[in-house]
Amino acid sequence: MKLIKNGRVHIGNGKVLENTDILIDKDKIIRIDKDIENDCEIIDAKGKDIFPGFIDPISQYGCIDTTFSIKDTDELSDPITPEANIVYSFNDEEIMDERLFEVGITTIGAAPGNKNILGGQMAVFSTCGTNSLKMKLKDKVSVKGSASIVVKDTYGSKQRFPMTRMGVFTKLEELFETSKRNIEKEEKDEKQKVIEKILNKEMPLFMHVKTEAEINAIMHIAKKYDIKLVICGAYEAHKCLKQIKEQNIGVIIGEQNFLNVKAYRGTDLNKISSIMDNGNLMSFSISTDYGVEGKVVYLWNAMAFYKEGVEAERVVEMMTLNPAKMLGMEDSIGSIEVQKRADLVIYEGHPITHYSAKTFMTIIGGEIVYKRGEQNASN
């Protein structure tokens, strides 16, 4: 058992508890209270800030290697591969190179890339470990697709379908329409089975869309087929607020610094964050159009929301409970609550409000995987 004493506990749902203790047994949080007494390993968190482990809900870490030679995220034999499963691409050795947990990222939604209209099924992985299977928290949590320019750049440039935005969305509509009509059929292929799960809301659809036109088009299709939709990238989502709220669309804002995309798109982070008041789920990612940025950029993206006027605790929700809910994992991760997994990060200082904040310790599944200044278990 481990007892974290006297920390400022950010629950993950917007609430903060001062001078509070957290008791951990094996991989679970078993008690949260003041003045817990226990004769076990004590971690002194006086004056420190404790957060639920941060979650990046769409990430290619683990599924692309550092030399860029292995890219197991886009099955380019066909633009429609919902049956593909990211689980078979996730390599613990590759994600460990980046040491995401050093900034407090403890979980990712491992996702296919942005090149296929329907790219494959997502899974949830822990960011630290030595065994891909043991790091897997949940399989087949959603289907990842893309309707952004990346798709037509990929296929159109090779004179293959789709070459246009028209092609991308028409194909999507056709897929859902066909699958809907085939539900009663006895013989079904794997593509049909997965698309049915989207249609019956067993799995949400995560779609990479960047412009206002793309966002409106995918929302139109989601409405027509009553699909649970999360939009990713979503750089112009602030222009589509009304519809996003009406359809309760989840939003994952893509990485904002690479190639200066946020500035060019004029993403209004404060405005888009207002959807949380409506009950929409909102998060962000260090995934760019074409890959992923480094771990420190995760903090820069969090700071950007705060800088534009979003309250720090709101931003914490975007990094913890909101992405957990998007991934259907809110029963086990995303907040500091009894019976949840002990995925925690302890900071000296508040990483959203001040650059001077430093990670003191990261705990994943009850194990200390990082302590500043020490070589530790994770190596």
Binding site: Y61, T66, T67, F68, D97, E98, I149, D153, Q256, N257, F258, L259, N260, V261, K262, A263, Y264, G291, V292, E293, G294, K295, V296, V297, W300, M303, Y306, K307, G309, I352, T353, H354, Y355, S356, A357, K358
Partner: protein, 384 residues
């Protein structure tokens, strides 16, 4: 005249003035005092922090643009690996919205530089970030000759079966061209002495002469062990230089000190990859600064947003650099590296009135914002 009142002034070179005034006249800083009375337009800076305009001395703004789906690159003339005569001012589009992002972030001067696709890439110019005509924005042309070691020139020319195919050939290629330039310069001088016809004008070699005369420093792209090659070449030529990017500096602190290198570190934030991207050690700037190396920071924009220059200061702070030292890395240190410390980089009487007024402390408070940006004494940006 413009009078900034009641400001917390970070002069950079003469400490802080907790509550002071700055008088601006004819585009220059005319007076800095606890209280100035003058018949001037007044900016009340009560509760705000006043800095010299921020500087990124290594930038490609206006020369590269990713705003459109078809990216523009006008800073790499990759038809010949040795193009020292190329001048970035002709590759820069001042209409690029990136300049607006820069001054809205309090960044008032940039060292615009050609990219790193060539071994000798071309001439770098220092500019102010506001203006319609690049030739009016220039403050020093050129301020350095850009050189690139390592993977970038190799990546361009090796697939064409041209040199440089490997790192092995790079120093020789550079040294040989400089040898030619020396001879060319001598021939010119001798022809003048003897009143004979000058050798035929050679733009490529002309660009190298100011470097040999120590009037123009080299600005050398290098990381890890490439910084050793870079310093060896610069020291062989006995010329002034700065090292750019400098990822992996931690291992070469002694050599950097001994080589009297100026260091422009950054950008940071990309994921760990192979080769040059294997190590990005912002923590090295702490040791370098403590040991007396002149260190500036760069965002290498627009590869990442120009406003991340402030994130770079923040990460230096996170890694133990004191705020006062870190902010120098995007003000006076950057000015010194461009040889412009007499004009920009600090709040001193007689310097250009380039001033950024912030709410909070940029690079310390995550929600710090530029409230006013002043260039050459004119308010060019005011936040609502």
């Amino acid at each position: 005249m413009l009078l900034i009142k009641n400001a917390h002034i970070y002069t950079i070179t003469n400490g802080e003035i907790i509550n002071g005034d700055i008088l601006i006249k004819d585009g220059k800083i005319a007076e800095i005092k606890e209280e100035i009375i003058a018949d001037a337009e007044i900016i009340d800076a009560e509760g705000l922090n006043v800095f010299p305009g921020l500087i990124d001395c290594h930038s490609h703004l206006g020369g590269m643009n990713f705003a459109q789906n078809t990216a523009i690159d006008d800073c790499n003339e990759m038809t010949n690996s040795l193009t020292p005569q190329m001048n970035i001012k002709y590759g820069t589009d001042p209409q690029s919205e990136d300049f607006e992002f820069a001054y809205k972030s309090g960044i008032t001067s940039l060292g615009l530089t050609p990219g790193s696709g060539n071994l000798l890439c071309g001439l770098a110019c220092a500019v102010k970030t506001f203006g319609d005509n690049i030739f009016d924005m220039i403050i020093k042309d050129p301020f350095a000759l850009k050189v690139a070691f390592g993977g970038n020139p190799k990546g361009v020319y090796a697939p064409r079966n041209q040199a440089p195919y490997t790192r092995m050939s790079m120093p020789t290629m550079i040294l040989e061209l400089f040898e030619k330039a020396k001879k060319y310069d001598n021939d010119k001088k001798e022809a003048k002495n003897k009143n004979e016809a000058l050798p035929e004008y050679d733009a490529q070699l002309e660009a190298l002469i100011p470097v040999l005369n120590k009037e123009l420093p080299l600005k050398i792209h290098c990381t890890q062990f490439d910084m050793l090659s870079a310093m060896e070449v610069a020291n062989t030529l006995d010329v002034k230089y700065s090292l750019e990017h400098v990822w992996g500096a931690t291992k070469y602190i002694d050599e950097l000190i001994e080589g009297k290198a100026d260091v422009v570190f950054g950008p940071i934030g990309s994921r760990k990859t192979y080769g040059e991207g294997r190590i990005i050690d912002i923590e090295s700037v702490k040791t370098l600064d403590e040991k007396g190396v002149l260190v500036a920071l760069t965002a290498d924009s627009p590869i990442i947003g120009i406003d991340t220059l402030i994130h770079h200061v923040g990460e230096a702070v996170r890694n133990g650099v004191s705020y006062d030292r870190a902010i120098r890395m995007i003000t006076i240190n950057a000015a010194k590296i461009m040889g412009l410390e007499d004009r920009i980089g600090s709040i001193e009487v007689g310097k250009d009135a380039d001033i950024a007024i912030f709410k909070g402390l940029p690079g310390f408070d995550a929600n710090s914002n530029a409230v006013y940006t002043i260039i050459n004494g004119k308010v060019i940006y005011k936040s609502n």
